[in-house]
Amino acid sequence: MSGFNPEMRTRAEKICSLYPQVRSALIPLCHLAQEQAGYLSEDLMEEIAEMVGVTPAEVYGTASFYDMLHTEPVGKYLVGVCTNIACLLQGGEELLEHAEAKLGVAPGGTTEDGMFTLEDMECIAHCNKAPALQVNYRFFGPVDEESFDELVDDLRAGRLVGDVPSHGTLIREERSAPIALSIDEVLAERALSDAAIAQRKAQVQS
């Protein structure tokens, strides 16, 4: 068993306390799990399931809906080249082709050294810098063939460690403010939301 390590477990519990319904913490916990392991291992999904009160199948089902959550290992750097309309118009497809050649993998593939996973991405909202890409969700653009090669070389050489944490680390800023609601208020909110959820369910009862 290798679930959350103690530090991560503490952070995970803190995240759970931010929501009146603990299942809401599911996706943030998946990000946290990826921060620890780079991807969502089965052990981690099982631990998340236990923490948020659902079955592992529900964690898996939910996580698999989202592109950023990976239930199989990915490279240390996830390079996502945008090929959606704005980037397409500025050469995003060609950039992706170049990236494939440079990294030697097709979109979805991971380089043999486990350093890079290449992805064909939908719009990343960086269209004023088209063609744009993200490495572990840090923005780069506009990127041409040379700057792409340079970027890859820099990443390989560890020159961008401060800017681009390894895959999985999304939010380096941990919440410092405690929840202001008192325990009683949280419990009252939970009871109200429990009732509202039950009512919502009754709404679609046949």
């Binding site: 999904m45 199948a57 809906f65 679609v204 009862q205 046949s206």
Partner: protein, 845 residues
């Protein structure tokens, strides 16, 4: 209904119930709207978009899902416009885009809602020429259910069933968009007691059941409607067969009982009927083991045994028969009481409550319980004992009922209820006036007050544990009745027709018709006494299709009884009993006989024969009659319909019932006895929707008992005579040694899981691997930290000890050990079946 509303459907003004969905209201009014994801017994999701109709809103008519919108007063709905037709056509074409169209090799081919609706509402041809989505071929979701993802149309039925109906969210959609597929968590199988229902409701051939895969084509199937006899709930089923073999059971949508669902043990139990574990010929025990004989030889041997017993004044006893039909058990009662003259006939092998409790209280119907705003349960875990009743509770809960569970251990019911942690012994004492701690006493008195205020208060009551006798249950009911006189009870019971066995007089002290009997019983009352008798002196013991070696009885006692007595086994499957019996008489199994059965509510329903009995096996009534004839007594009736007439004539509670009535549409869901004046049992059946349960309407021939349309004139309404049972006073013994004699002792709570192994489970290829070893669950603090190994020793004060595997259960009280029955039945020897409670100490090996 008084507050019905009107709306306009295709220009006609029609009625609907408030809150009724358009699709359901239309259907009741004769307009069938095509659908895939909608299922009448599941919350709607409105995703397949097949049921789109035009509904008038503030901005004119718009396409809306009729399975999602409730009818509102004056609502205008159009179901047959070109716009609607085009939308339906479009949805069907889209569904076929990625569908493999492998109908010829698909189990569902011929009864497939996709196939059928394409024919009725769909495009003439597919315009799709692109490459289809590909998945690797069928994968096992569990040992019972297989998934072919290419055929899946993402209707969310199976996943919704698992999460919303069964509360087992073990299968989920994974992926997104057109990559969505159904999956389990890696290496966590879809281990649900109810998994077979997902196969039943899959509108395509994506989910298949292992026991049925490739066994038959729908057009080869014959069916009869019948009643499941795997437990005493009496779910309605369609028994389907092909070429003389049973091929599957499907749940029939009975409003009264199962709402179309079945548990897997019931659904796949027919495998044992087909298995080679069947006893197909009479057997006699010889020096070198059993040998096959003719019926003539076997019967004459039995007659000789009876004659000798009579001559030597050897007691003759009958144990079992609770799985037989009413007619079967009735015939054996006649054989025992009238032809042989013994009062030793006892069907309550699981030690169910005394007849005075059943005869002296009003039974609640399942619907009466489910319709109540407050449902109170004190019994063993209902999910294990009566699985489909658990589904009904989940449904009631979703509809807003409050469920209160009175149990000292957490059960599956706890998940949907407020649990007051109290043992039945404590509850009995509390009700009798003994003080308990203030917080629980406050909770309990509130619940009882609320119950008392209900118009028809009911209580779900059964023995919480096989570790104590049933006296405690009688004490609880007696006290409850004195507090809430109009309380009725839904009694949680063991074998399928045990309730019928009470009415038929297969209980010591009574004969059929609830009449007390003074035939000799040698002082025995109940199955334990009879076995003790058999262990103490020679008797002639008939075992009526009961696997005594795999029951909640102590195996020591059973073995001693077998050693001393001459055993005649009437059996359908090989078991420990048939191995030791002197004579074995082959009896029919589920699917092979006609008759009636009685469920826990007292609901009498039809059982139908679908196939001819295996080998030389015979119906129990025939066996009883032949034995009687062999000893010179003519019991008269052979046909089950004739025997039923006899039952009606002799049992007041059954008066006015006819066999035909129970075979007809109106009463196909059975009639509850004793008949009540309000006739709650007559809730009308929903019209059969071929998409809700594919395979019922599509099946070619309709067997003898099944009919969805026929009406019957007979009215089984109450008469003065049969409305109320004769008053029987409850006089349980109060407060005898129920507390531990010294500190440190732990009380045993014995639980029987759904997959408790027995000869029937052994004979089912698909299910036998689901049985597990017996386990003792203990609280963490009850276990010494230096215990080694994975098993512990349970020791009784009288020195009796057993070894059993154990597991820690955080939710358990320190003074309780929960023993879950499993393959190694020997551990039950630790239970003192006559005691009010069994206490043990825990020890290391």
């Amino acid at each position: 209904m008084a507050d019905e509303i009107t709306f306009i459907l295709d220009g006609k003004e029609l009625r609907a119930e408030p809150g009724e969905l358009i699709i359901a209201a239309a259907e009741r009014n004769g307009v069938y709207i095509p659908r895939f994801c909608y299922h009448p017994h599941m919350p709607s999701v409105g995703v397949c978009r097949m049921c789109l109709v035009e509904v008038k809103g503030p901005r004119g008519f718009a396409l809306s899902p009729s399975c999602y919108l409730p009818v509102t007063p004056g609502m205008e709905v159009v179901t047959d416009s070109p716009k609607v037709k085009k939308a339906q056509n479009g949805v069907l074409e889209f569904l076929l885009v990625n569908h493999p169209l492998d109908c010829p090799v698909c189990d569902k081919g011929g009864e497939c809602p996709l196939q059928d609706q394409v024919l009725s509402y769909g495009p003439g041809e597919s315009r799709f020429v692109e490459e289809k989505r590909h998945f690797e071929k069928p994968i096992a979701l569990s040992s019972l259910v297989y998934l072919d993802r290419e055929r899946c149309i993402q209707c969310d039925r199976c996943t919704r069933f698992a999460s919303e109906v069964a509360l087992d969210p073990l299968i989920e959609f994974v992926g997104r968009g057109d990559h969505t597929e159904v999956a389990t968590f890696p290496d966590h199988p879809f281990a649900s007691y109810f998994s077979g229902n997902t196969v039943q409701i899959c509108p395509v051939g994506a989910l298949t059941a292992k026991p049925y895969r490739f066994k038959a084509r729908p057009w080869d199937l014959d069916q009869s409607e019948s009643t499941c006899t795997a437990c005493s709930l009496g779910c309605r089923i369609s028994v389907q067969s092909s070429r003389g073999e049973i091929t599957r059971y499907l749940g029939v949508d009975s409003e009264a009982v199962n709402h179309s669902w079945l548990c897997d043990r019931g659904r796949f139990g027919y495998e044992s009927t087909n298995s080679d574990h069947r006893i197909v010929k009479p057997l006699l025990q010889g020096r070198d083991g059993a040998f096959e004989v003719s019926w003539k030889e076997a019967l004459s041997k039995v007659a000789t045994l009876i004659h000798n017993a009579k001559k030597n004044a050897t007691p003759v006893a009958f144990i079992g028969g609770a799985k037989f039909s009413n007619e079967g058990i009735y015939s054996f009662v006649k054989l025992a009481r009238e032809a042989i003259g013994t009062g030793l006939i006892e069907a309550r092998v699981e030690g169910d409550v005394s007849p005075s409790l059943i005869f002296g209280t009003n039974s609640a119907t399942i619907n009466q319980v489910m319709d109540s705003p407050l449902i109170v349960v004190s019994s063993q875990d209902l999910k294990e004992a009566l699985p489909v009743l658990y589904l009904r509770l989940v449904e009631a809960k979703r509809a807003g009922a409050r469920i209160v569970e009175l149990s000292e251990i957490a059960t599956e019911i706890s998940k949907i209820s407020e649990r007051i942690s109290i043992s039945q012994l404590e509850l009995a004492q509390y009700l009798e006036g003994k003080e308990i701690d203030s917080s629980r006493s406050e909770q309990l008195s509130k619940v009882l007050d609320e119950l008392g205020k209900l118009e028809s208060p009911s209580f779900v009551l059964g023995r919480a544990s096989y570790g104590s006798n049933s006296n405690v249950v009688e004490r609880i009911s007696a006290s409850l009745l004195s507090k809430v006189p109009n309380m009725s009870f839904l009694h949680v019971m063991g074998s399928a027709n045990v309730r019928g066995a009470y009415e038929m007089g297969a209980v010591t002290g009574y004969s059929y018709g609830r009449v007390e009997s003074d035939l000799p019983t040698h002082g025995a009352n109940g199955v334990i006494d009879i076995l003790e008798l058999a262990a103490s002196r020679e008797i002639l013991l008939f075992v009526l299709d009961e696997d005594l070696g795999s029951s909640t009885l102590p195996s020591d006692l059973v073995n001693r009884a077998f050693e001393m007595s001459t055993v005649v086994a009437v059996a359908s499957l090989t078991s420990q009993v048939t191995n030791v019996a002197d004579v074995v008489l082959p009896v029919v199994a589920s699917g092979e006989y006609d008759g009636t059965t009685t469920n826990i509510e007292g609901r009498v329903t039809r059982i139908s024969a679908r196939i001819t009995p295996k080998g030389l096996s015979q119906e129990p009534s025939v066996i009883a009659n032949e034995i009687a004839r062999e000893i010179g007594v003519d019991l008269g009736k052979y046909e089950s319909s004739e025997i039923f007439q006899d039952i009606v004539a002799n049992c007041l509670t059954f008066s006015n019932l006819t066999y035909n009535m129970l075979s007809s549409g109106r009463f196909a869901d059975g009639v509850v006895v004793p008949l009540s004046s309000t006739e709650v049992s007559l809730k009308k059946r929903r019209k059969l929707d071929p998409v809700a349960t594919p395979g019922l309407l599509s099946t070619e021939k309709v067997g003898p008992a099944i009919t969805y349309i026929a009406e019957e004139d007979a009215k089984p309404f109450a008469t003065e005579q049969n409305r109320r049972p004769s008053a029987v006073s409850l006089s349980p013994s109060v407060d005898v040694d129920i507390n531990p004699s010294r500190p440190g002792l732990k009380r045993l709570v014995v639980e029987k899981p759904l997959y408790a192994p027995n000869s029937q489970l052994d004979a089912s290829d698909a299910m036998k691997e689901l049985a597990s070893e017996a386990v003792a669950f203990v609280s963490p603090s009850a276990i010494d930290s230096n215990f080694e190994g994975s098993s512990i020793i349970l020791t009784r004060d009288d020195g009796k000890r057993v070894e059993v595997g154990y597991a820690i259960d955080d939710s358990l009280r320190e003074d309780v050990v929960k023993l879950r029955i499993g393959v190694n039945y020997d551990v039950l020897n630790i239970v003192d079946p006559l005691a009010n409670a069994t206490f043990v100490t825990l020890g290391d090996k």
